[in-house]
Subunit: 336 residues, 2 copies
Amino acid sequence: MSGQGASERVTIYDVAAAAGVSTATASKALNDTGRMSAETRDRIRRTAQALGFRPNALARSLTSKRSFTVGLLTDDTYGRFTLPVMAGISEGLIDHGVSVFLCTVEDNPELAKVHVDAMLDKQVDGIIATGKRIDRPLPVELSHLSVPVVYALTAGPADAVTLVPDDGQGARLAVEHLIAQGRKRIVHVTGPGSFKVVHERTRAYAEALEAAGLPVREDGVMRGAWAERWGHEAVAALWERADRPDGIFCGNDQIARGVVDALRERNVDVPRDVSVVGFDNWEIVAEQTRPPLTTIDMNLKELGRQAGHALLRLVNGEAVEKGLWKLPCALVVRGS
Amino acid sequence: MSGQGASERVTIYDVAAAAGVSTATASKALNDTGRMSAETRDRIRRTAQALGFRPNALARSLTSKRSFTVGLLTDDTYGRFTLPVMAGISEGLIDHGVSVFLCTVEDNPELAKVHVDAMLDKQVDGIIATGKRIDRPLPVELSHLSVPVVYALTAGPADAVTLVPDDGQGARLAVEHLIAQGRKRIVHVTGPGSFKVVHERTRAYAEALEAAGLPVREDGVMRGAWAERWGHEAVAALWERADRPDGIFCGNDQIARGVVDALRERNVDVPRDVSVVGFDNWEIVAEQTRPPLTTIDMNLKELGRQAGHALLRLVNGEAVEKGLWKLPCALVVRGS
């Protein structure tokens, strides 16, 4: 679809070449960003006009029948969270013929800058920043780019659109499910306190117990690593106690997997004696656990879809509500 | 081939650090682009010369004021194989300021075509096609594009450069390791026969047994799903037999995880009574298995590095040997 159009279209490269500046500079001039003299900016604009360059991203997309392209930046080099978000963006914008280009930026700010520049140089229509945790920004400044930016599952500035799962609501679903199973002594085995989600889920856990008239115990929350091993250790510690739990809400599926294995090895029947709920719905773990894990799904695909739509509206010049969008999680009931 | 050179070579980062400027500035100075004082440009160039920095082959693409950009196409929507390959490409081309843009193509040829067109439209310098298995091509024709294409971990045409792990050599390493542990009755529990790698690894398994003078039994190879559950089922079937194995080579780490768990639940000690070797070195599975899994690593990062270098040479108009490049796997010894 873009084959023929490409050769006729006046691109930012043509403008840059004709004006004798870099594409980055040409782009900045036409988008009224960056630093340069008013004279240079004017000259580049006149060149663009003379060549018939159309600066509006969407107009450009429509008139040239080019596909809309999203640059997706992530620091999640393992892809666990990012690939579902990416799939959601693609699905959500499929009618627009969108292509999503993923670029991973590890912890090196300079290198991250190189990648962002490459995206701008390649004229992506917008950027979605995503990552592996909601309380850390990517190692690169994205506030003043020439294209719109949406944040999803990573920390964004206050005046941006930032989409995150509603961790508190997800945790509430988990605890309410355990209560509905008749569980009275529910503990929460979770990850390190350095994660914001750990605090949000812990607060929701306590509130859900209170709302049901169940006691909230100081030692009901146990923090450790996001790993199976911690699930084993937590069960070992819990089974030393006089008052053993009959419900365990785990901070992720890997911890839950360790908890379920450790209970089985103690001949504690799951779910008859103890009910277990995980978090993440990481299917490769959840489905192979014996019994398969009941868990909370963060709906990352839907989060990606909505991030893509928000970006499309921004590219399109439409109004989009700024701030933090908390999207609901869902309970997935399996065997535990 | 490129392993040692990488550590000795002076990179753009070294130049930037020595000159006290950002890598972007160093790159611009050396490529005669961007804005800076003639003095700064000269200083950076002298620093580069003093350090022995060789402005390399990619100069052509850099002087055209574009950064080198690789489009990475994959049908591995889960990212298990693709993200290590992607990391390898990035690392291997880091000195060239390369950016890798990943685009997933699922099983829809029309949509895949849209994405390839988008990559060409964005003027990527070359494309690497990758996937989740070596015996299936991506659902899109890439033979006659305007940019070079390299295939890695997916099927490519005969006249292209295609990089794959040497599955036979990897399987041989696994079986030889079991033999070196004194194991005599070694079985192979693997995936479905519809996968080419299953046949390659099975052949190598039989050859390694023969080479060691061990009998090759008809029922020594058991095929099932690539899942933990199959590991449990295989052990259940094996422990029905009169002649139980003392070594089990598994087709992937998930099967091996199931095998190790099933053995423990039968009070069979791993590795005292039975040694187990997996395949993939999927760390999140291998490290959390009790005991941690000894397994075969396909060196996907190195495969990505070499794919990136091959592409770079093609972009650069240099000769590259066509055909199938089989890269060696490595044994990772842990506790099983």
